[in-house]
Symmetry: C2
Subunit: 279 residues, 2 copies
């Protein structure tokens, strides 16, 4: 039986592209939300899942982290870096001049502002709930409507890519994480993601004290973020990504020291560090 890999649907999104990149031979199953994706791994309904966690322009996407905090078995087992390449999608044979309307997620329309104002200055922009839905909807239109989205959306909807990489900022990369149940083995080039909070709020120096063991032991932090807990504004938990693995002596020392200061503490996962795929 094939491995079952969940992803945030619908089909035809960048997340599906990442899930296919992660494991081309798996059955890829779409779920309606990131909490559902994590729950499917946690319960054993699927073997793995892929979901977005950070975009180089838009910033963090924290639904996965929020779900992992409460999970029993699900953990981060890998990461995937995917360049976000926005395509102009239309029925095969459509000319740029015939396009009167362009539809996509509001974010994608905003990411391609320069292309649209240069090449389609008179086109009406129509915000749509998903890039995949926008591409699929073209089947019901004449050739005067185009969509913006991933190549995968064009493939699934039987449409053509008129032009690729039309986003304003070329360095648009999304970081996805792989969620699984079994911790991967240490490779020597690993990253670890942790979350913690303090039992006091508003105390000067708490964050500083928490970071001291990492600085003292020469551990490189790759991400730090305070996140509102939802309990009340101004009460935060902290997310930290750093280079290393809990089996490394300096990492294990830093984590032990850190836990002298924290109330809640959880390792979200240790996993091999990703490289950008070669273009």
């Amino acid at each position: 039986m094939s491995k079952r890999v969940a992803f945030l649907g619908p089909s035809g999104t960048y997340t599906e592209e990442a899930a296919i990149l992660h494991d081309p031979d798996a059955d890829h199953i779409d779920y309606p939300s990131l909490p559902d994706v994590v729950a499917a791994v946690d319960s054993g309904e699927v073997d793995e899942a892929v979901g977005p966690i950070e975009n180089s322009i838009a910033g963090s996407i924290n639904d996965i982290v929020d779900s992992l905090i409460g999970a029993q078995n699900a953990r981060i087992t890998g990461e995937i870096l995917l360049p976000i390449d926005v395509c102009l999608i239309a029925p095969p044979g459509t000319s740029l001049a015939s396009i009167k309307r362009v539809r996509s997620k509001a974010e994608a329309l905003g990411q391609c502002r320069k292309f649209l104002s240069t090449h389609l200055p008179d086109a009406v922009l129509e915000p749509f709930d998903s890039t995949a839905g926008a591409a699929a909807s073209l089947a019901d239109e004449d050739g005067s409507v185009a969509a913006l989205g991933p190549r995968r959306a064009a493939e699934l909807s039987g449409m053509a890519v008129l032009q690729s990489s039309i986003q304003d900022r070329k360095n648009n990369v999304t970081r996805f994480v792989v969620i699984g149940r079994e911790p991967p083995e240490r490779t020597g080039v690993d990253k670890t993601s942790i979350v913690f909070d303090f039992d006091r709020e508003d105390a000067p120096g708490l964050v500083y004290a928490a970071l001291k063991p990492f600085a003292d032991l020469g551990i490189n932090l790759t991400k730090i973020e305070s996140r509102p807990t939802g309990a009340k504004i101004g009460v935060y938990y902290f997310l930290l990504d750093f280079d290393g693995h809990p089996e490394d002596k300096n990492v294990s020392g830093a984590l032990t020291e850190l836990q002298r200061h924290t109330a809640m503490f959880k390792v979200l996962g240790s996993y091999p560090r990703a490289k950008l795929p070669q273009a």
Copy 2:
């Protein structure tokens, strides 16, 4: 002439509610994006603007910060805390039993999952581009369709609020910032927001060293965040909010010390600390 206050449109959103709360007598002018909102203040086209910067559940909304980094005159001059109260909106006289479809932004549908599964388990959920648009669209439907959104959206569309505060998590608060050009005077109960980066990447201890002066001088950090720069993944700048004002001696000392470590450094604004409005 009335003061002109820009907000992220469309009308009928929580952001318009915050803009009205900030200055009920101003002309409130909707803009299509947060970068446009900041640019309107920066150029003098409007006097002030209001935009979301952080939600207690969803996390940071960083478009405003990204725009302020490049702004000449625009700065943060205030903050507003607004409880996000999601309403079930339908034509006046609609009964719960007659509702077959519910439409809203996907985020709002997700925030009200418990209410929907308890009270409207058979309703079809329809993702919509904005809560305001969802409420406005009800005018074209029979009484079998409802929307989720702010009270303001019901008012503007001539619809009724069937039930208020239906979100799963009651402590759902959004923090908005006021953008202006003139720095407000020190009140003694102030917050300051800064952004900075380093000229080296991946160096252990940089963040720790940057936070030391704040710990040493007893300054309470209220938020810390690393943000991808968009240049490449893994290259970050840092956002810090803390209690105090650059005219306070300890704050001025910490900022001077901090700048010994940073490459880019900018004060985004100092402003009176907000309290939650009384219910």
